[in-house]
Amino acid sequence: MLNKFPLWKNLMVIVIVAVAAVYALPNLYGEDFAVQVSATRTTTVDTQVLGRVEDRLQEINIEPKSVVLEDGQLLVRLNSDSEQLRAREALLQELGTDYVVALNLAPATPDWLEALGASPMKLGLDLRGGVHFLMEVDMNEAMRKILGQMRDTVRADLREERIRYTSVERDGNGLQIRLRTADDFQAAMRYLDGAYDGYTLIDDEAAQQLTLRMTEAKLKETQDYAISQNVTILRNRVNELGVAEPLVQRQGADRIVVQLPGVQDTARAKEILGATATLEFRMVDDENSIRDAEMGRVPFGSELYPNRNGGNVLLKEDVILTGDHIVNATSGFDENQRPQVSITLDGAGGDKMSLATRDAIGKPMATLFIEFKATGERNAEGNIIFERKEEVINVATIQARLGSSFRITGLDSVQEAQNLALLLRAGALIAPIQIVEERTVGPSLGQENIDMGMQAIIWGFVLVLAFMVMYYKKFGMVANLALATNLVLIVGVMSMIPGATLTLPGMAGIVLTVGMAVDANVLIFERIREEIKAKRSPQQAIHHGYDSALSTIADANVTTLIAAIILFAIGTGPIKGFAVTLAIGIVTSMFTAIVGTRAVINAIWGGKRIDKLSV
């Protein structure tokens, strides 16, 4: 029969709309004021902490809505923002610096919805306030560091094999090895060929010189590693800031996005995020004269560095240990009440330290502090030039064989000890970074943006609804029903997709979709009117109207979808939000306008004898 949907089609429409509606539902419940407690690297949040938190809240007469321990985090929901602030103060005192206590807004989704995996849409920073940073990683420095480690390895291996070399130095993306004699050259070639993964050996017999060149795959792997290492370290640093739900994510080849919702004190955030400090432990070269070195005759295998307390120190080129082996660092005082930093190393770091200090008891070891400061200038390739500032902060005589925990003393102030400990604990960045973009949105502006966006959506929606009813009568009401369903579908799909974020341009995208979504129905209804004018029966008119409009609607929407996808591919942040809502809106509007309205029209008018259509 004409214009009757089979049962399965009707069911499909109902199921799709119902599912979307359920997933859209959490957006209606709003958010609870909450305090979130999470652990730092040395602690864990467990039931004991839970008990302490509950007791403490009782002491200050706060009755929390709920206290839940989940995924190693404690979420305390409270009734008002003033309670939230008081609770945080109290918990900060109670738990101290071992835990991160952050203000948060937790979605007040009921349990049964949460059990279905439903959660509200994520709001972009332009709607909820906070800081967005885009950081650029200095790849040259990362390469320098990794090849430096490789150089040390090659030197040690050659020594082990008793192959004598003139020099092993970095050369572009590889190492250049000069040998003393032809025999050594042959021996080195035999040994080095295939000895290291990701390096190809190029030999130059005439010059008695070998080059280990990094392969393309290894180069890419190294760069990926540098970025992911930095991402991890930035995550740790962000945790130190005490922010709820931060985002640290790679973007493109050498950039990292950091988003800190709710953070207002950008100055401190930047100080901690941007600081790139690392430590190197090296032996002091006490066999050669420092005065010669200062005159410019630096002995081979050693380097001259300034001392923080004045003068210079001559250090061996080989690095015993770098900062990335540091597991924990805490500030405190030594026996003489001078500030110190206690350092704990990981297993590999402990072994290295132990090996290096075994035969060096009584010899001086230096702590080299390396800081990178962006100069604000760029080289020919457009990359930021970083100034490498190195100074020896401490020279100490090795008293005993060191293991995986030891201390650095001789720091100037308590403040310095604390800063150093914080930076070391958060990990040393493998390569320096610089903030190349920052966007901070205050909380008042965020709320205003939400309000204005909602106003625009509501009014746009009402205007279109009114017009459609006036122009298309009952069919217009069906189209309006489709439009409302479309809004629910957009919100439902946005809430379902984990990566989708609602931004202000995204809200504009929804408004635009409302205006354009009726187009499909306009096309269909105009067709139906034409068919009626061509003296077809009402049932025939509906049937042909939908049929002939279908390919037009599909073509028109696919082209718009192309524009939306390209926008998604190039856009960042808010613009991506616009592209996402636009694309989702196009797909859902096609469903509601073609299948949805047809289901309703079929159910009301289909298969009956009718003389006139209200279109």
């Binding site: 650029e136 950008t266 504009a508 190039i570 616009f578």
Partner: protein
């Protein structure tokens, strides 16, 4: 309100095409000239620099703010109201030097010191100059990619003359919208770029509907000049074109007046884009296709080859 457009008689759209071409030609020349001379008022996203938006409790005194900034080495700052009299937007060019990313915080604390009332930070944006350059490149590239992809899709679904007509109309829309922004000196930021791509999407939507009808009518009416057929197709789709434009304009007006200052450029570009896009899908897309000589033969469904016809006979 039964029907907006009486569609009993075919409206001779194409008779006016020479006039429309001259009109569009003039607009394009004016736009390109303005883009060459005035250029675009590039927003922060593209130029790099720092923008600080602050809110005062009472009407803000802009000249005091300028004086404070001048006295502290931030001369050349653009200070203006944003949205309301209490809100102030301060824009600084990218600064040479190490601490570019700290300018925002510095300016904020300066303003707080200088003012007796509370100054709320509404937003701070800093964009490094390199990021902006890349964005300009990417934006241009995106626009081109979009045009090429759409060209390919329409050529595949319809016919190359219609595709060229459609993309010609899109380029026309984009250039004239850019021209408007250049002439009026409106700020061109990322949201406007997004709006421009949405204009492309909207305009192509319109054009496809018209093209679809042109193809259908060519197939349906076995007689008639190309010009008549196109006029007929445009007349058939006229009321749909007007209604969809109307609903879109309605929501854009809501966005323009209620969406707030941040979304103003976006709404402006789209509002203008809807008008120019509607006009271009009628006059530019179809008349270009007509000028390129689109005819019935080009749009007839391809002959279905009989299965096995061109196979060698089995030995």
């Amino acid at each position: 309100m039964r029907e907006l457009i009486k569609t009993d008689k075919t409206i001779p759209f194409m008779r006016l095409r020479i006039g429309a071409w001259i009109f569009s030609g003039l607009l394009m020349i004016a736009s390109i000239a303005s883009l060459a001379i005035n250029q675009l008022n590039w927003g922060l996203d593209f130029t790099g620099g720092t923008v600080i938006e602050v809110g005062y409790e009472r009407e803000a005194n802009l000249s005091d703010i300028r004086a404070t900034l001048d006295a502290n080495g931030f001369s050349g700052a653009v200070v203006q109201n944003f949205g309301t009299q209490q809100d102030v937007l301060i824009r600084l060019e990218p600064q040479e030097g190490v601490k570019a990313q700290q300018v925002g915080d510095q300016v904020l604390s300066l303003l707080r010191e200088a003012s007796t009332e509370e100054v709320t930070m509404r937003r701070i944006e800093f964009v490094g100059p390199n990021v902006g350059e890349q964005l300009t490149e990417q934006g241009g590239l995106a626009m081109l990619t979009a045009l090429i992809c759409i060209l390919a899709y329409i050529a595949f679904r319809f016919e190359w003359r219609l595709a060229l007509g459609a993309v010609g109309a899109l380029a026309h829309d984009v250039i004239i919208t850019l021209g408007l922004f250049s002439v009026l000196g409106l700020e061109f930021d990322l949201t406007v770029l997004a709006a421009l791509l949405a204009v492309i999407g909207y305009s192509i939507n319109d054009t496809v509907v018209v093209c679809d009808r042109i193809r259908e009518n060519f197939r349906k009416y076995r007689k008639g000049e190309s010009e008549e057929i196109i006029d007929g197709a445009l007349t058939d789709t006229m009321s749909r074109t007007v209604i969809t434009s109307l609903t879109t304009v309605l929501v854009l007006l809501a966005l323009f007046f209620l969406g707030g200052a941040l979304i103003h450029g976006f709404a402006t570009a789209l509002l203008f884009g809807v008008f120019i896009g509607t006009y271009s899908s009628i006059y530019i897309a179809s008349s270009l296709a007509l000028a390129l000589g689109v005819s019935r033969e080009d749009l007839m469904p391809p002959e279905v080859e009989k299965e096995g016809e061109d196979l060698e006979p089995m030995p």
